[in-house]
């Protein structure tokens, strides 16, 4: 994992001093609210319905145990003793006091953390696959590139006031896309060209929100060393020509659509021609230096523990289910990737208490080289667990509430904080998630249904990624009452697609029944091997519509 050097430490300390000064001036009335707004947003600080909300950056979802312990302590000392894992691999505090934020930042800086650019119209935290570095089919580890992008985008002087927010995601796997790169402003797919050279396929202009769009490819192959100059060209074209007259038309996807992907690509290439060989061009040495931070941990040379696991599975059915659903294959023999689910029914998806954070930190130290990853599905990953210790780990996590074997099933819901917490929301989202989790509480039935992405957003801003849920739920406000609109057929994976709206919206009480009806249509119509998405793609939306609105 990346470790700060004296430069990073100095910049982080200077940033804390700067934000302290800004906060002081805001509190003294020297900065008008609209002047302080973008400054605090670029530091992840929202003023929400009930209290400020502070979004802390977790670059590409990676944390060390001491950082998680520090988050636990901060949530206890400055908040109500819990935090929320977001769909962009960050962590949010829901109740800090504005005047405490500079002190919180100072505490974060001590463990090499910050809240830079976690909101506002700037380049946000770069996200990637939560299995980066440990999966079998990855072309190369994407995290060094994420760190290179993090450094380049931090306080970039030209791009601090873009037309809108700007999100970048990197994926390195050939078969899967857990980073949902095609619904980002820039999606980078790591590839090798015919000569075996490493580079990126560049997608630009994806996004959710009001106008959901799957990002077109604007360059098939970008050599590795050209990453930053090319991104600088994309951002410069966007900064100069993106719309600023209408907030809802200001994302880069609208510019890409207006110019056409070909037209946009031409403009980027023309700009890039000027800066391609500027000092911003990466060097082999610079990349290797960052790569040096993402070396493998001290793996022991082990055999796969197949016999032991087979016996443990046979003896314990719940362990067997957990192993099947929540544990993934590791590139290294004898190791496994463990997903801790943070989706206990009755608690908001992604919420963790201070005690749970400390437990996660302890588990990471004991079982996984002290490293933790946050996923965009709002779960937590221990990436390097010995197979012969899986049973022991499972026994430890079940009482903690991290062992629900529902990963990727219908009840592994992605959900924004919604109207319970967020000032932007039109409707509550957490009670909907909970009602559905309660309805589908039979694990065997969930397994039979297979992988289904259920994504819930409390408003158009789509923090719950409802457009790319196989089943998407969007909270809408109708004359002061909360209703929910359903879309079907979305996907955030390699086969990315935007869901189609089913029809008129429903009251909250009706939601579990409506979801049950949709699931029943799938169960009736599916062939042996089909997932929900396969069936939907084969039969279309009409059979669902007929049954739901019958």
């Amino acid at each position: 994992m990346y470790v700060y050097d004296e430069h990073d430490r100095q910049i982080a300390a200077e940033r804390v001093a700067q934000f302290r000064d800004q906060t002081d001036r805001a509190l003294a009335g020297e900065l008008a609210e609209e002047e302080f707004l973008p400054l605090r947003l670029q530091n992840g600080l929202y003023v929400q319905r009930l209290a400020p909300m502070l979004r802390i950056a977790v670059p590409y979802g990676m944390m060390r145990s001491n950082q998680v312990r520090r988050l636990a302590r901060i949530s206890r000392d400055y908040d109500k003793g819990y935090a929320h894992f977001t769909t962009r691999q960050n962590v949010q505090l829901n109740w800090p006091n504005l005047e405490d934020v500079p002190d919180i930042l100072a505490e974060l800086a001590e463990v090499e953390m910050h809240a830079n650019q976690t909101s506002g119209n700037c380049i946000r935290n770069t996200t990637t696959d939560q299995f980066a570095g440990v999966q079998e089919d990855e072309i190369t580890d994407p995290r060094p590139y994420c760190e290179i992008i993090r450094q380049w985008s931090t306080f970039h002087p030209e791009f601090a006031f873009l037309p809108r927010k700007f999100k970048v995601a990197v994926n390195a796997s050939e078969k899967t896309d857990r980073a949902a790169i095609q619904v980002h402003d820039i999606g980078l797919q790591i590839v090798r060209n015919e000569s075996g050279e490493l580079g990126f396929r560049v997608h630009v202009g994806g996004g959710l929100g009001r106008t959901p769009m799957v990002a077109p490819v604007i360059r098939e192959f970008l050599p590795e060393l050209d990453l930053l100059t090319y991104m600088e060209a994309v951002l410069r074209v966007y900064n100069r020509y993106g719309r600023r007259d209408n907030k809802f038309k200001a994302r880069i996807k609208i510019l890409v659509k207006a110019l056409t992907p070909e037209g946009f690509a031409e403009k980027v290439e023309a700009e890039w021609a000027h800066i391609k060989d500027s000092p911003t061009k990466l060097t082999r040495e610079a990349i290797d230096r960052i790569k040096g931070y993402f070396t493998e941990p001290d793996y022991e040379s082990l055999e796969n523990a197949s016999d032991l696991l087979a016996r443990q599975r046979f003896e314990n059915r719940a362990f067997d289910q957990w192993l099947t659903h929540n544990v993934d294959t590791h590139k290294k023999t004898g190791y496994a990737i463990v997903n801790l689910t943070i989706k206990e029914t009755g608690t908001p998806p992604g919420d963790v208490t201070d005690r749970q954070m400390e437990q996660i930190a302890d588990l990471a130290d004991e079982y996984s080289f002290g490293e933790i990853r946050v996923t965009h599905q709002q779960n937590v990953v221990l990436a390097d667990v010995r197979q012969d210790r899986l049973f022991e780990l499972w026994q430890a996590i079940v009482p903690m509430g991290f062992g629900t074997a529902n990963l990727n099933t219908l009840t592994d819901v992605i959900c924004c904080p919604g109207g319970d917490y967020c000032a932007l929301a039109n409707a509550k989202s957490i009670p909907v998630a909970e009602a559905i989790q309660r309805r589908f509480d039979d694990l065997d039935y969930l397994y039979d249904l297979g992988n289904i992405d259920l994504n819930i957003s409390g408003c158009m801003n789509a923090c719950g990624h409802h457009h790319v849920g196989n089943i998407g739920v969007l909270g809408v406000d109708k004359k002061g009452e909360e209703f929910y609109q359903i879309s079907l057929g979305g996907s955030s994976h390699h086969d990315a697609s935007i869901g189609k709206i089913l029809g008129p919206s429903f009251a909250r009480e009706a939601m579990p029944d409506v979801i049950s009806t949709i699931i029943n249509v799938y169960v009736d119509k599916r062939t042996e091997e089909e997932t929900f998405l396969d069936t939907y793609r084969r039969i279309g939306i009409d059979p669902f519509k007929e049954r739901v609105y019958a």
Binding site: Q10, A17, L31, F155, A160, F161, N239, P279, T280
Partner: protein
């Protein structure tokens, strides 16, 4: 005349005035003193204005620096208007004037110029800042100086941190 802030945070008396764009149909009448006029009108009236040291230009945020072409260094002052401090186009204009077009003389930020944006303006090649009059000009030096270094190359340095680390 309002004072102007320089790159090191020092304050200088200033005697340039910004001449706004005339209403449709009206012609531009620069006053009898040093004046910054809209860049497109300077170009349109080039024969009249060329060589005059008391005339400079200003860009609005949607205007393209490329239009000045090789005339750029005939000007002793170029200003860029930030109509709203959240409009970040001026930063690109600054870098393009300096880094692409090789502009050597004073580059001034005008309009909604606040304290917390000065650091970005400085890195993008601006060396004079007409701070909005209600802001405390004495705090400019502090706000320009929070950071001792940045990660990227920009107008102020052609060496990004990754190249400095290698040295």
């Amino acid at each position: 005349m309002p004072d102007i802030v320089l790159q090191d945070g020092s304050i200088k008396q200033d005697d340039w005035v910004v001449v706004s764009r005339p209403e449709d149909g009206d012609s531009l009448n620069p006053p009898n003193q040093k004046a910054l006029i809209p860049v497109d009108l300077w170009l349109a009236g080039y024969e009249r204005y060329a060589g005059r040291e008391d005339i400079g230009v200003w860009f609005d945020s949607h205007q393209e620096p490329e239009t000045l072409g090789d005339k750029v260094n005939e000007l002793t002052v170029i200003a860029v208007n930030f109509p709203k401090f959240t409009d970040g186009r001026g930063y690109s204009i600054g870098r393009l004037l300096r880094e692409r077009m090789g502009y050597q003389n004073e580059l001034r930020a005008i309009g909604d110029v606040l304290l917390d944006q000065l650091q970005f303006m400085k890195r993008c090649g601006f060396d004079a800042y007409a701070l909005r009059p209600d802001k405390d000009i004495q705090k400019a030096a502090r706000c320009l100086g929070f950071f001792s270094q940045g990660y990227q190359a920009a107008t102020d340095t052609d060496t990004p941190l990754f190249r400095r680390r290698a040295g």
